[in-house]
Symmetry: C2
Subunit: 121 residues, 2 copies
Amino acid sequence: MKNNLEIYADVDNCPIRNVLDRIGDKWSMLVLLVLNESDVLRFNEIHKVIGSISQKMLSTTLKNLEADGLIEREVYPVIPPKVEYRLTARAESLIPHLLSLAEWAKDNFIPIKQSRERFGS
Amino acid sequence: MKNNLEIYADVDNCPIRNVLDRIGDKWSMLVLLVLNESDVLRFNEIHKVIGSISQKMLSTTLKNLEADGLIEREVYPVIPPKVEYRLTARAESLIPHLLSLAEWAKDNFIPIKQSRERFGS
DNA sequence: CGGTATCCCCAACGATACTG
DNA sequence: CAGTATCGTTGGGGATACCG
């Protein structure tokens, strides 16, 4: 049996690396957390909530998350267009892990910043 | 009180974004998990375990982790040089969250890959 | 409204060579 | 052994304009 280190080191086929490459990008985790708090949102609603994201990056981020089966995209054939996004069950099973990581981050943010400053000297 | 969305969206001061920017880079999480399994390792030992990382990237990754207070660097003043790296208590409190994320990743890797293939069609 | 298309830039990353 | 220094590439990401 392969040990964990071999798995981690195999960048292309490593599950955690594949998942991290997705949620570790600039916007994916943020989009997931936003959708988690709001149940269902339209494209421009997500855009407004995040604010600093460009239309292009929001579009590609949503497409990537959809490709991974983490969000559902529902198109209403009306004019003007209406598109709704919501989390899938798969994403909902991921959310607790993201939130526990977020919790750790909040608890350790101040000391980490202090460490960085001390190190910079 | 600020709600979570405001915190997440404030990219510069958001704890989770700051932490993700570190562990979400190409090598940091891998290095943390490697050190977690081996207690203490020298520079070239980490290099050999990971294999595909360049000396330069290992060096900067270790420096970043040290700056965040996640690893300790101990230099022995001998010739040839000997430098040991180990996790700090702070990193050890992070490891469980990383492992639970890794667990989710392993459980969902196959279906996610299948979703990606279907989406590519 | 919900996107694409296009152009551009910079920082991350790798390869190689060198050093105390 | 444990790194720096230097150079070159590439692709992630932003700005802007346009479209069904």
